[in-house]
């Protein structure tokens, strides 16, 4: 592929990746985790308050990097934010991953980078979590930046690449605690790549081990970047120590019995073949299969046609080690596959280019291209379905503990009844739910000024002073005798198999009925428009 064609095609891929990531960002109801992060960010935005929590919620980079976006849209309060502004950050970082793939052009070649970019742009997993306000896509961005910088340093041991690797390493650490897995996997991969190059060189090129000075400089930059975020920009010096203390928590959590324990092949099954709930078959097997071809090419006898070696071995070793560690850890959530799946995507790009290069005859080459085009079309179709049709449907393998669209009907009802209550947005709302059933209510009720959260009905005080009570099922059973039929109760689905019960005081309910039967239009209709179900 010549330079001009590559530039044009890669630009189109980046634009396509942006479209896939940016359109309809408010379609999916906020996930429990997204709402947690959003409310935490709201505190930072409104009061400048943030303190790293070593027990949960990962690193601070997500919140601080959201700040410029919120300011750009002139948002200064949690209530003024919306899903689009928040999800814009991971969406931009998700598309940014494609640009970082350009770091591998030297050694990998333009065709391989083009295919890797195409796979990254269309992969349902990559697109789905690029539209998710959690740390994952930022983490993947910094991981690819780190691997790319290491690779460039290996080829050209310039200080700039050492600094770049250090910055990405610091940002990885400030984003997710699992960065240590990536550090270990990348470090080991780097050493073994140099060993392999000596034993079985792809080209006569000799890697130079990183010099102490550059290594030290990279380390300083990494420390400074991480320290700036963990200390909340020097407001909380304890933060840097807390970041170390967090490893104890995460180590315990990784193996403890809990909700998210899965067998080792979980991630591969998810990627290769998923089908449930009468939904369609999901598979990213194309990427996995081409990655295998890429791995074969890394150790093939054929010599590289470029002057510098291919990063295939380095990426393969990194992917192997990181995938092994993430798979061995019993604690698994689907988004945790991304740091090693990004490696598979690069290898798949190498594999696709290798296949095209392997066959000299034009008809065979055309056949390979045709098969690849079919696979890529299927990948794009799956991505469309995952993000625009099955975005909250458990039949989608990447939908995990996701808030259902029915929940938005509860929000609409609360908004509607508040609209006819004299206190409107100051109407008292009592939420009596367990912590897992509470979220994402704090995000959706952020516009209400008087919302209280309790975990037990006995602690919520007088119940009749609240025109609206929202409870989980357990608390609804406790509330039933206390409410004495003076509230109208309705069920709403929160997540599959999990319900919330909305209790509306009878006087307000009767007024609501009177007005709704006369066709009044309520504010909540705006929210209901977003509430779309699969056809």
């Amino acid at each position: 592929m010549n330079k001009a064609a590559f530039r044009g095609l890669f630009f189109i891929i980046v634009v396509g990746a942006l479209l896939f990531r940016l359109l309809g960002l408010d379609l999916r109801p906020m996930h429990h985790d997204e709402a947690n992060q959003a409310v935490k960010f709201g505190r930072l935005l409104e009061k400048g308050e943030y303190r790293y929590d070593p027990s949960d919620h990962h690193g601070p980079s997500l919140y601080y990097l959201t700040l410029p976006l919120a300011w750009a849209f002139s948002k200064t309060t949690l209530a003024s934010l919306d899903e689009v502004i928040l999800r814009l950050l991971p969406a931009l970082f998700g598309a940014g991953v494609l640009l970082l793939l350009l770091l591998f052009v030297k050694g990998m070649g333009r065709t391989a980078v083009f295919f890797a970019g195409l796979f990254a742009a269309l992969s349902p997993a990559m697109v789905y979590y690029s539209r998710f306000y959690i740390q994952e896509m930022l983490f993947v961005f910094f991981v690819i930046g780190f691997l790319g910088s290491l690779w460039r340093y290996l080829l050209y041991p310039w200080t700039a690449w050492a600094l770049s690797a250090g910055l990405c390493a610091g940002m990885m650490y400030a984003t997710k605690e699992t960065s240590v897995i990536v550090f270990a996997a990348a470090g080991l991969a780097l050493i073994l790549t140099m060993v392999f190059q000596k034993i079985k060189p792809q080209t006569p090129y000799h890697f130079i081990a990183p010099g102490f000075a550059n290594f030290f400089l990279g380390l300083i930059v990494a420390f400074l970047a991480a320290a700036a975020f963990f200390t909340s920009f020097l407001k909380n010096r304890q933060g840097i120590w807390d970041s170390l203390a967090a490893f104890k928590t995460y180590f315990e959590k990784s193996g403890a019995d809990g909700f998210h324990i899965q067998p080792w092949p979980y991630y591969f099954k998810l990627l290769a073949f998923s089908k449930s709930g009468g939904g369609p078959l999901w598979s990213e097997a194309l990427i996995l299969a081409l990655a295998l071809v890429g791995i074969v090419s890394a150790f093939a006898l054929r010599r590289q046609k470029w002057a510098v070696p291919s990063p295939a071995r380095f990426i393969f070793l990194y992917t192997l080690f990181s995938a092994a560690v993430f798979s061995i850890i019993p604690y698994k959530t689907p988004w945790n596959l991304l740091p090693f799946y990004a490696g598979f995507i690069i290898l798949a790009g190498i594999g696709a280019a290798f296949l095209l290069d392997l066959f000299a005859k034009i008809p065979v080459k055309a056949l390979v291209l045709l098969v690849l085009a079919g696979g890529i079309y299927h990948l794009g179709l799956e991505s469309y379905r995952a993000n625009f049709v099955f975005y909250a449907d458990p039949a989608n393998p990447y939908v995990y503990a996701q808030t259902g669209t029915d929940f938005l009907k509860l929000v609409k009802r609360v908004t509607d009844v508040a609209a006819i209550h004299p206190d409107d947005k100051k109407m008292l709302i009592k939420v009596i739910c367990g912590p897992y059933e509470t979220w994402p209510l704090p995000w959706y009720l952020r516009g209400f000024e008087r919302v209280g959260y309790w975990q037990d009905a006995g602690e919520a005080g007088t119940l009749f002073d609240a025109p609206v009570i929202i409870s989980d099922q357990d608390q609804a059973a406790k509330l039933r005798p206390l409410l004495e039929d003076k509230f109208q109760s309705e069920y709403y689905g929160l997540r599959p198999g999990v319900f919330l019960v909305l209790h509306i005081r009878e006087d307000l309910w009767q007024e609501y009925l009177k007005r709704s039967l006369h066709g009044s239009i309520f504010y909540g209709d705006v929210i209901l428009k977003r509430c779309r179900n699969r056809p």
Binding site: D56, T438, L441, R450, V451, G497
Partner: protein, 227 residues
């Protein structure tokens, strides 16, 4: 003289009224809004991902015995079913009366989104003593606006008796119902038609808490020949 007396009596009265009003105003001015310190939500990690089927009884206790007049029998088995959606998304309308009550895929019929109904023709008039409905029970769901009507008119224009209605906000336009919403379980929902005489049974629903679709695994109508 009388006029002076009236002024003398009315004067203090007006003064008292004005004083009380002023006092009351000053009390209002002295008030301030009570600032309630409401508890904040507790931050917590990712909740459990539920994907497995749920066939357990959610209400806790199994349904108690239900007594019907002697001679009552299942009168809906294999009877013809029509629907507001004659081209179901999944399954066939015959599933509604085929006696298969499994919650798995392949045993339920899925009708389109929004308000939909199914109607069973019992082929003769019966004294109806029980109607048992399973919408969907492989996952805990609540079906919205469940309304069950019986009639001798196949078009449900005249002689319609509503035997169950939990459409509490009249979304379906069939009147406000006082029955409660319920979570689907493998026990189904038992409705007491209290001996209503009818040939046709029509069941409405309007989506559910998981999606906007309408499902039926089975409907059983129990009755005795009309007296």
């Amino acid at each position: 003289m009388k006029k002076n007396l009236a002024i003398i009596l009315a004067g203090p009265l007006v003064l008292i009224c004005l004083g009380t009003a002023a006092l009351s105003q000053s009390q209002d001015q002295g008030k301030e809004e009570l600032k309630l310190q409401l508890p904040k939500p507790m931050f917590i990690g990712t909740p459990r991902n539920i994907k497995t089927t749920n066939l357990e009884v959610i209400t806790g206790k199994p349904r108690g015995p239900f007594f019907v007049p002697k001679g009552t029998a299942l009168v809906s088995l294999k009877k013809a079913v029509i629907s507001s959606d004659m081209q179901p998304v999944i399954g066939e309308l015959s599933f509604v009366t085929d006696a298969e009550k499994s919650g798995e895929d392949g045993y339920f019929v899925e009708l389109g989104p929004g308000k939909q109904w199914v109607q069973i023709d019992l082929k003769a008039e019966f004294d109806l003593n029980a109607i048992l409905v399973w919408h969907y029970h492989s996952q805990a769901r609540v079906f919205r606006d469940v309304v069950v009507q019986v009639s001798d008119d196949k078009d449900f224009i005249k002689g319609v008796t509503t035997v169950f209605n939990n459409d509490h906000d009249n979304t379906s336009g069939l009147g406000i119902g006082k029955d409660k919403e319920y979570i689907e379980t493998n026990e189904g929902r038992l409705i007491d038609p209290k001996g209503a005489k009818a040939r046709y049974v029509r069941l409405y629903s309007n989506g559910n808490t998981s999606n906007d679709m309408n499902h039926y695994v089975e409907v059983e109508v129990y009755g005795a020949p009309a007296k």
